[in-house]
């Protein structure tokens, strides 16, 4: 807390001299404190490191390491690492595995981010509106969520993906539209506690409209929860995409994603072609783990900020 000094007696209007001793050191804004707290968490920082590595790997890698990922090379299939293939060998179509990892990683990360952002935006708005309005509207909106949650997620996504799937945008939208339910519940809960706070009442007394309450007061104050949730959403979306890809509902040739890669290499293990399965599996595990570590770290850091000290 600060040691700023209340002026002795209320100064006459407009008079100077109200400047007491202002505390400087403790004037960290909320987010700076969050960042400081986050940086103390080594696992979370490691998560950021892993993530940065994979983003560079997937998006900048292909600029450094050129491979042909469009034309199959049937003369050089299933080559072991360093032995005619690239550093990680080649797969059953003769694609360079390292290059393919970069391509698949790009798709997985893109879809993960887009789907998570879409889900969070829908979920946040839905939850905030339901929480603020309350009563019958809230009840109806949340029953919609309950109903959608009771439909098996993967099944619906599979059907829709089969019908509209195949490219990055479509898959992102499909995954996003079917995963906003959990954030909606989370934000509604947050808004229920926020909306009875006095600053929301104060804005209402001023005549603030509902949209102002939602966008200026409720959502900014629920932002900590939202951001933490986004990281978990990304991890979930990447895993869901991997599942879709594994079931052959992922992106189509010439594009690929990590799930499709694992699926393509199903027989490879029994033949001893480990380089077609393990690298992509490790990448998937590492990226999902990185997002979860970051999410945990953020959650703790946001909590710290919410405490008084």
């Amino acid at each position: 807390m600060t040691t700023a000094i209340d002026p002795p007696v209320p100064a006459p209007p407009g008079s100077p001299g109200a400047d007491g001793g202002e505390a400087q050191g403790a004037n960290l804004t909320g987010w700076r404190l969050t960042v400081r707290e986050f940086l103390k968490n080594r696992l979370a920082v490691a998560g950021v490191g892993i993530l940065v590595f994979f983003i560079l790997f997937a998006f900048l890698g292909p600029l450094v390491y050129h491979t042909n990922q469009e034309a199959t090379n049937l003369l050089n299939t299933d080559a072991a690492p360093g032995n005619g293939g690239g550093p990680l060998g080649s797969d059953s179509n003769g694609f360079d595995v390292l290059g393919r990892l970069m391509l698949g990683g790009r798709t997985s990360l893109e879809i993960g981010f887009l789907a998570a952002i879409l889900a969070t935006v829908i979920g946040t708005l839905w939850g905030a509106v339901a929480g603020l309005l309350g009563g019958l509207i809230d009840a109806v909106m949340m029953r919609v969520v309950d109903v959608l949650l009771s439909i098996p997620f993967l099944l619906v996504v599979l059907i829709v993906a089969h019908r509209y799937g195949s490219n990055t945008w479509n898959l992102s939208i499909i995954l996003g539209i079917f995963s906003w339910l959990v954030p909606a519940r989370l934000i509604r809960g947050e808004v229920l506690t926020l909306r009875v706070r006095d600053f929301v009442s104060a804005a209402r007394v001023m005549g603030g409209s509902r949209s102002r309450l939602i966008f200026r007061h409720l959502i900014p104050n629920a932002m900590g929860t939202v951001i933490v949730n986004i990281t978990f959403q990304i991890a979930d979306a990447i895993l869901a995409l991997a599942a879709l890809g594994f079931l052959n509902f992922g992106v189509h040739y010439p594009s690929t994603d990590w799930g499709s890669q694992i699926s393509d290499a199903q027989d490879a293990l029994s033949n001893g072609y480990w380089w077609e399965v393990f690298p992509v599996g490790v990448c998937l595990v590492l990226v999902v783990m990185a997002f979860n570590l970051i999410g945990d770290g953020l959650r703790d850091a946001v909590d710290v900020r919410l405490r008084k000290r």
């Binding site: 600060t2 002026p7 006095d198 209402r204 007394v205 001023m206 200026r216 900014p220 104050n221």
Partner: protein
């Protein structure tokens, strides 16, 4: 004979991530057997931490510094292994905490919780311990204790829970009871009951008690000796009467002088202690009070005064001791001749704000598919009127509906029936843009300075928001207006760029007041404007509110549980009980000539910071607890707790009767004789009464 508890050089340090806080430094005192020692001071002065340090219950990172010594009956407690300390805690030294809502385990029965220390310390069997629990619960005045052993905490009211807490502390008959703000979370009427109970039990069980509180009124009536703490040190220590009659430390003097008194002339400014307590991670050199002290000299800022005194009985740490309490020019009571034209209690000629017959009920539960059958009757037909530049004060215990009434006046809640009229315009019927424009005239100041400002917005944005919403002025004009406002409430200009969490509670409350003023409202509803603040800060904010009222020609509706605060601010006072207005009148009328037994009981229950006044009290006050507003008593709602209640009170609801100029009360057996009435037509200009309404 050696004292029961001897504390020497107690220093507690708490290591934080970046800094070290020293909440308690070199505190020495002693406690005789059978004595009550008061530990008073503002929040953050180290009084609670002193209590916890005695028990060895330090927060994470906390440690006692080497020379600290706590001796209980000659036995050193500092440095004892944890296993030994555990045998002492709850057995020889017990503690009662502040918040009865959170200090009981919600998943265990109260019988189990009271029996627990007996089983731990006495090795009693379950049955024996439960028997003892029933015994102790009877001792603390829990009705039908045997039947309630299997109750869970949520089934009990706040006052009863605090009794259970006391029972837990007393179960093993400790030698020392530490009561840390035992009544702060309770209503005044319950507070009086609990304090009387504690004093009574202390005598019966021959315990010693350390009473930790911020309320000078509480220690005045219930402590034998008092330690005044400031910034982690003891500023002054002596016996109660001596302290109040002849204090030597300027802080004690200021603390006492800044409390609003009932007997005070409310046209005078309150005395204030300027500034804030120091930051204990970096305490100032010299006397810690120097920065706020009017007597301070250079010596005070460099040399630290020792705790010394003329005799052992009265010690103080000050280089320039004062002599006795400030002679407040404000303490003489003004005699207002009745019928004087300037009498503030006289009804306004043309009311600015009129509230008639407001009713609000909140249905209990009721989701999508359940139908709610019962409702909380929060406000049941309340009327009041307020003239320009006037202040109406609303008092009552928590749960009496005063906050709901305030929220309906500013339009935060919609009344079920009744009207709110401002300058002839009925507010509660307005919608949309009409309503938005009229909100400019009705603003609100909130109780909790921590939740009333959006933590994500800078102060500048917070203060500009009303102007933006109402679309007033260009952004340059808005900025000018905002910095003018900051000056008016006494905050520096650079506050605009800062976030609310960088300010203290008092400063936040100033920001809240500035925000309410931004739109130049005609009426501000202030809901418990100072109850979250420390005494010395409270006086600053009250003075500011009075000054701004005069300079802006504001009308206030002040809501508070503290009759002294309301009396200081208000021209007219309304006393509410369980959703009904039971008495309205001028401040002097209410204070000197209370008519309703509830008003009289409320006045009796308020602790007065004067040991002589407190000693004269006979422990009267109001018995029992507030009945449930789900099912309020028939007839007069106060009858279940009223000493004068008779059969009529249950059958017939009393009508508002006139007892003087602008003084009305609803009671069948009033404490004063009513003035013979010339029945005024309903909703007449005086409009202050509550018309008899059948519920």
């Amino acid at each position: 004979m050696a004292p029961l508890l001897e504390v020497e050089n107690l220093s507690t340090h708490i290591q934080l991530s970046r800094s070290m806080v020293r909440p308690v430094e070199n505190v020495s005192f002693h406690l005789e057997a059978g004595e009550t020692l008061g530990l008073v001071g503002e929040s953050g002065c180290g009084k609670s931490m002193t209590g916890l340090s005695l028990m060895g219950l330090l927060p994470p990172g906390g440690s006692l510094v080497d020379e600290s010594s706590v001796r209980l009956a000659g036995r050193e407690l500092v440095g004892l292994p944890d296993a030994e300390l555990r045998k002492i805690r709850g057995n020889e030294i017990a503690m009662v905490f502040q918040d009865p809502m959170s200090s009981l385990d919600p998943t265990k029965t109260i019988g189990y919780q009271v029996a627990e220390p007996v089983r731990l310390h006495r090795g009693a069997s379950k049955a024996e311990a439960l028997e003892r629990a029933a015994e102790v619960l009877a001792l603390v005045g829990l009705p039908r204790p045997k039947e309630r052993l299997n109750d869970y905490p949520h089934q009990l009211s706040g006052g009863l829970r605090q009794r259970v807490m006391i029972a837990i502390a007393l179960a093993c008959e400790p030698k020392v009871l530490i009561a840390d703000e035992p009544t702060t979370a309770l209503d005044v009427t319950i507070q009086a009951q609990i304090l009387t109970l504690l004093a009574d039990l202390k005598d019966r069980l021959r315990m010693s008690m350390i009473l930790i509180t911020h309320d000078m009124g509480v220690v005045a009536g219930h402590a034998d000796r008092i330690n005044v703490m400031y910034a982690g040190r003891i500023a002054e220590t002596t016996e109660t009467r001596k302290l109040f009659a002849g204090m030597r430390h300027p802080y004690t003097q200021g603390l006492l002088a800044s409390i609003p008194r009932l007997a005070q002339d409310n046209t005078q400014r309150l005395f204030t202690v300027p500034g804030l307590p120091p930051d204990l991670s970096n305490p100032p050199a010299g006397c810690r009070f120097a920065a706020r002290c009017t007597y301070a000299t250079d010596k005070c800022r460099t040399d630290e005064p020792e705790l010394v005194g003329a005799d052992d009985e009265h010690e103080f740490a000050c280089w320039h001791p004062v002599n006795g309490p400030l002679q407040l020019a404000t303490t003489q009571v003004r005699e207002t001749p009745p019928g004087e034209p300037a009498d503030p209690a006289a009804p306004p000629r043309k009311p600015l704000l009129e509230v008639t017959e407001l009713v609000k009920e909140f249905p209990v539960s009721g989701g999508l598919l359940q139908r709610s059958k019962r409702s909380v009757k929060a406000v049941s037909g309340v009327s009041l009127s307020l003239g320009p530049g006037q202040t109406f004060g609303l008092v009552g215990e928590s749960g009496c509906g005063k906050t709901t009434l305030g929220r309906m006046i500013v339009g935060l809640d919609k009344p079920d029936s009744g009207t709110v009229t401002l300058e002839g315009q009925q507010i509660d019927a307005l919608r949309g843009n009409e309503l938005r424009r009229h909100r400019r005239d009705l603003q609100m100041m909130f109780q909790d300075p921590y939740s009333s400002l959006d933590p994500r917005m800078r102060v500048g944005a917070i203060l500009r928001e009303p102007l933006q919403i109402q679309g007033i002025g260009s952004s340059k004009e808005q900025l000018e207006r905002v910095s003018d406002l900051l000056g008016e409430v006494g905050l520096p200009k650079n506050a605009l760029e800062r976030f609310p969490h960088e300010f203290s509670g008092g400063q936040r409350q100033r920001i809240g007041l500035a925000r309410a003023l931004t739109l130049n409202p005609k009426v501000i509803v202030a809901d418990e404007p100072v109850s979250a603040l420390d005494v010395s800060i409270r006086a600053q904010v009250l003075n500011l509110m009075k000054r701004l009222q005069a300079s802006h020609d504001l009308s206030y509706v002040v809501i508070s549980h503290d009759l002294a605060v309301v009396k200081y601010l208000a021209d007219r006072i309304g006393v509410m009980y369980l959703g009904k207005m039971v008495e309205t009148g001028g401040g002097q009328d209410i204070y000197e000539r209370p008519v309703h037994p509830y008003t009289a009981g409320l006045l009796e229950a308020i602790p007065i910071p004067d040991p002589q006044v407190e000693a004269r009290k006979d422990g009267g006050g109001i018995k029992g607890e507030l009945p449930s507003p789900l099912d309020p008593p028939s007839g007069c709602r106060f009858r279940t707790r009223c000493p004068l209640a008779q059969d009529t009170c249950a059958q017939e609801e009393p009508a508002m009767r006139k007892f003087g100029d602008g003084h009305f009360a609803a009671c069948h057996f009033p404490l004063q004789t009513p003035v013979l009435e010339t029945v005024a037509p309903a909703g007449a200009a005086d409009g202050s009464g509550e018309a008899p309404a059948a519920v």
